[in-house]
């Protein structure tokens, strides 16, 4: 298993390289120190770009062998040359080690635990892993096997390929070793925590940053979801990273930053169907916050959303439409009669989701701290970002409520089995933005940049 873990490390290093190529091309870093200063974001951008591209290639009939996985990552990483060539060594600033240390202790503890964790969660062993194994063992999207009821029945036909493609790429390096899948999910979390630290630590308040990093790493729901090896943590990290880049775009209006936001958002959309809800909320908020300052920017944000959905979701939808046949099993319905019949679901679902967001036994105090930071940022007159954060969370929350409103399942069962997981993206989004909002409170209105540029 140790040799297999080595294979997993190689794959994830390739994904970092792929992400560094895209961020390098976007001009977010210069020199090798600048590269080292953004590895968390690089990983998430890399995995999003690889996953979206892999999904497209699978739909086009590719098998994504070991060599092809390496070639895709190598092609994506070419842009890193631009970052390495310009600007000498660049800069690499991080905050004090004590800010990261408590979170690091928990990350190590989680990694040890996951090393011995079997594949036990229902969705994981019955859907995500068999699907990844199918891609690996059948050399791509075998139309016979992938159109079976177990793969496309009910709501499963709505789930795109990114997470399975990443796991299948892992199998190319490790062989069919299911016990490493938890660790692959852990790498997403590691990248996310490192990204918040690297994006924030040079300018943010250390106590806020330390609290956020520790709460994300130590939250009981983080541990239980990592052990389940499902796609909710990966989705949440991509959504939150897209949110961070979205804030940066609102601040700087650099097109390259919007491109990074779009790449991460496309990754989120290609991970789970809920990704479309969160990404829709994110880009709607970007469009809304841009409206007063620049109508063209607002239109660009909405156009970016269209591109994101087209790139992240459409290939899979087309494949399902061509090969999937008639939907089987119960599917969500937004028909007026269903919505009227299910009207009582709305307050129950909203209340349950709110409880799961605020339940300290799941997420400690991440969301309350975000709310306090919002309040302080509002009083400090940094209202653009506050509006962005509130609108994104509110729309995402409403989107989740609508998904439960239209559920064909028993509401209690559906909420009990999924609500604690689907709120993860909102929680991680709040966590990612809290240090930035707290930074705003310590600065006067009009001073720039919540998220530092890595070439600053």
């Amino acid at each position: 298993m140790i040799a297999d873990a080595g294979g997993l490390v190689i794959l994830n290093l390739l994904l970092v390289a792929a992400g560094a190529g895209i961020t390098g091309l976007a001009g977010t870093w210069r020199g090798y120190r600048g590269l080292a200063g953004g590895l968390g974001l690089d990983y998430l951008v890399g995995v999003a770009a690889f996953g979206v591209l892999a999904q497209l290639l699978y739909v086009l009939g590719a098998s994504l062998s070991l060599v092809e996985v390496c070639l895709v990552c190598a092609a994506l990483s070419i842009g890193a040359v631009r970052g390495l060539r310009c600007g000498g060594a660049g800069s690499f600033r991080v905050g004090p080690a004590w800010v990261f240390a408590p979170a690091a202790v928990f990350l190590v503890l989680l990694a040890v635990d996951l090393w011995y964790q079997p594949l036990w969660a229902y969705d994981s062993w019955t859907f995500w892993t068999p699907r990844a194994y199918g891609l690996y063992a059948l050399d791509g999207l075998d139309t016979d096997w992938f159109t079976s009821g177990a793969m496309l029945g009910g709501a499963r036909r709505d789930y795109p390929l990114l997470f399975s493609a990443v796991e299948a790429a892992g199998f190319r390096f490790t062989g069919y070793e299911t016990r490493l899948l938890d660790l692959q999910t852990w790498v997403f979390l590691l990248a996310f925590v490192v990204m918040i630290y690297q994006a924030s630590s040079a300018r943010m308040r250390n106590v806020v940053l330390a609290a956020v990093l520790l709460m994300v790493a130590a939250a009981p729901s983080t541990a239980s979801q990592l052990a389940a090896a499902e796609a909710d943590i990966p989705l949440a990290t991509l959504v939150a990273a897209a949110g961070l880049c979205g804030v940066r775009w609102l601040e700087t209006r650099r097109r390259s930053t919007l491109v990074l936001t779009a790449v991460l958002a496309a990754g989120a959309v290609a991970t789970k169907i809920e990704g479309a809800i969160f990404v829709g909320a994110l880009f709607a908020a970007l469009g809304l916050c841009s409206w007063r300052r620049s109508r063209p920017d607002s239109a660009i944000a909405i156009a970016a959303l269209v591109v994101v959905v087209a790139v992240g979701l459409l290939p899979w939808r087309i494949w399902v439409a061509v090969h999937g046949g008639v939907p089987t099993g119960a599917v969500p319905s937004l028909t007026p009669s269903t919505l009227v019949d299910h009207a009582s679901y709305v307050p129950r679902a909203a209340g349950y989701l709110l409880f799961k967001l605020l339940d300290p036994r799941g997420w400690l105090l991440i969301v309350p701290l975000w709310a306090v930071a919002l309040w302080s940022a509002w009083r400090a007159a940094r209202r653009g970002v506050v509006v962005f954060a509130i609108v994104t969370v509110a729309l995402a929350f409403c989107g989740l409520v609508i998904s439960y409103w239209s559920t064909p399942l028993d509401l209690h069962f559906h909420l009990a089995t999924s609500a604690r997981r689907v709120v993860t993206s909102i929680v991680f989004f709040c966590a990612a933005l809290t240090p930035l909002l707290a930074d705003a409170t310590s600065r006067s209105f009009g001073q720039p940049s919540f998220v530092r540029s890595r070439e600053d």
């Binding site: 011995y116 079997p118 062993w125 019955t126 308040r205 330390a210």
Partner: protein
């Protein structure tokens, strides 16, 4: 987590109490250096609370490790079906009956004692019979696997074969080739 205790327990409560006690003492001793603004104070409070509960969370992880490190490789490999109250070897004989390349359908009925096991039969079949394809309509399948339900109620079959007899409260697994 598979092996983490579900409840707080006396030991868990003791760890929590100790954590909060230590956090309170440290906070009291460092009260002079606490931030004065709302966000800073809130963040400090979150940090203190999280550090206070951290030993308890860490203990839960250690408890989980105690369980998972004691599992054999086989137990680790079949944890998913076992969690669904399903015997992981349930369909092993079926793989010798249904030829590679054939399609199959799965039907389960009220004779199966656990609803979780009923729901997990099709995924287990998908894994065990890989890469044979499952079809949703039993009449369109080459073979039918029936569990806790009369196979003749599912589809017209030529011969019904008991692939695994009734065992430990679980009904027999019956396989039949669909008659065209």
């Amino acid at each position: 987590m598979l092996g983490a205790p579900s409840g707080l327990g006396v030991a868990g409560a003791a760890w929590l109490l100790a954590g909060f006690l230590v956090a309170a003492i440290i906070t009291w001793r460092r009260r002079g250096s606490l931030s004065t603004d709302l966000t800073g104070r809130a963040a400090a409070a979150c940090l203190v609370v999280t550090l206070a509960v951290a030993p308890y969370f860490a203990r839960r992880i250690v408890e989980d490790l105690r369980v998972t490190t004691a599992m054999t490789d086989y137990e680790l490999s079949v944890a998913g079906p076992v969690q669904a109250y399903l015997q992981p070897y349930l369909l092993d004989p079926v793989t010798r009956v249904i030829p590679p390349g054939a399609t199959y359908a799965v039907a389960q009925g009220p004779g199966v004692p656990h609803p979780e096991a009923r729901a997990a039969l099709a995924p287990l079949a998908m894994i065990k019979l890989f890469p044979r394809k499952e079809v949703s309509d039993p009449r369109q399948a080459d073979w039918v696997i029936a569990w806790g339900i009369d196979i003749h109620d599912v589809a017209p079959v030529a011969t019904a074969i008991v692939a695994r007899p009734e065992q430990a409260g679980y009904p027999a697994v019956v396989v039949g080739r669909v008659r065209r």
